[in-house]
Amino acid sequence: MTQSLDYRKETASQTAGPYVHIGLAPGDAGFDIYAHELGHDIAGPNAKGQRIKVTGIVTDGTGAPVKDVLIEIWQANAAGIYPGQGDVEDGFRGWGRVIPDFESGEFTLETIKPGEVVGRDGRKTAPHLNLWLVARGINVGLNTRMYFDDAAAANDKDPVLTLIEQAHRRDTLIAKGDGETYRFDICLQGENETVFLDV
């Protein structure tokens, strides 16, 4: 026998279920309850940088849209600073929530394009949004990242993208756009399955 290490175990995850909106986006569930619903404004009114709009669809292994998904976004500001890490613009939260349209399954998020972030060991990471997906049928929330196709030089050196062994799968993390509007589809399973991260 040895002494006990005396750690506690992390509480196990359970699916967010089909009614996640009641808790995290009640307005979308069809009722207003809070004076101030959280997560609607990622960047706030004073954020510097390029305003962008990202649309996409999350699909399951059969190709059907996952209409009950909820996506959380966490990102740095245009200078590459996360809130809590340094000074950011007044009202810049860097965090938000989106759900898709219940009919089409398409989500839209509006924010600013983040800057390059200083990663581990001072190495730069290409501009990216950190995403976290929960839904019915997802037992543990799925982490992934969204990069930008117009930052190709930075993407080529990014420590996470370059860690993806199968080079063609890197494209699953890169949104295509014109600098203002981007398209980013997420595939939970199948031929174009998105790379998900154990963070």
């Binding site: 750690y7 992390e10 196990a12 359970q14 699916t15 966490w74 740095a76 997802i138 037992n139 963070v199």
Partner: protein, 239 residues
């Protein structure tokens, strides 16, 4: 910014694909997750202030009441948010949602025949205090049927969402109630391979915290990933 987190124990959490929870079949990635070391993207996270949350938001008996109290067994759900090192997680956002006492959700997609309660919304939120304590007042949710097998019933449960200080600590789980015979029969609960991890999701009846002649209480601690002590390093940041 949090220092590096302990690796998430993927054998303790449910696997993405759980055969008996049918919806997971088409919604589970088939490729291995890419394990990455934590950077600022994972080790920072959003914070929330008291100015954004009203005092009544953690009182589900009152936060949607129109003509009186909701129907059902009055309960208090309380506990602490701690990390794996048993350190309290202060001022972090805890959000809950649940069915009403009849097992019906206030959601336009829920068509179960149990009645909507006009005085019950079914969601609440609060910030933990400086010692990680949180508290909600609500009604005990009812069990309800769902389409997995043709006769599947969810045990009474409350969905809980917690933030922590790092985005990589983000967690959604479900709290169950001591003594519920449906726990052992639920395909969603049973996605968790280790019985000890299931036991950790079952809130204990806490008679000491009841309000006599008013409300019964359940205690439920939530454990988030712990951060590595940098005791032996030259960079003690975040410790």
């Amino acid at each position: 910014m949090t220092s590096e987190l302990y690796q998430r124990d993927r054998e303790w959490h449910p696997p993405a694909l759980a055969q008996n929870y049918k919806t997971s079949l088409a919604r589970s990635p088939r490729n291995a997750l890419l394990s990455i070391q934590g950077s600022a993207s994972e080790l920072t996270g959003p914070t929330f202030g008291h100015d954004e949350i009203d005092a009544i938001d953690n009182d589900l008996l009152r936060n949607y009441a129109k003509t009186g109290d909701p129907i059902g067994e009055r309960i208090i759900v309380h506990g602490r948010v701690l990390d794996e090192n048993r350190r309290p997680v202060p001022h972090t956002l805890v959000e809950i949602w649940q069915a009403n006492a009849g097992g019906r959700y206030r959601h336009k997609k829920d068509s179960y025949l149990a009645a909507i309660d006009p005085n019950f919304g079914g969601c609440g939120r609060t910030l933990t205090d400086e010692n990680g304590f949180y508290r909600f007042r609500t009604v005990k949710p009812g069990a309800y049927p769902w389409r997995n097998w043709i006769n599947s019933w969810r045990p009474a449960h409350i969905h809980i969402s917690v933030f922590g200080t790092a985005f990589a600590q983000r967690l959604i789980t479900q709290m169950y109630f001591e003594g519920d015979p449906l726990i052992a029969k639920c395909p969603i609960v049973q996605t968790i391979p280790d019985q000890r991890a299931i036991d950790q999701l079952v809130a204990a009846l806490d008679l000491n915290a009841t309000i006599p002649l008013d409300s019964i209480a359940y205690k439920f601690d939530i454990i988030l990933r712990g951060s590595r002590s940098t005791f032996f390093e030259n960079r003690p940041e975040g410790n």
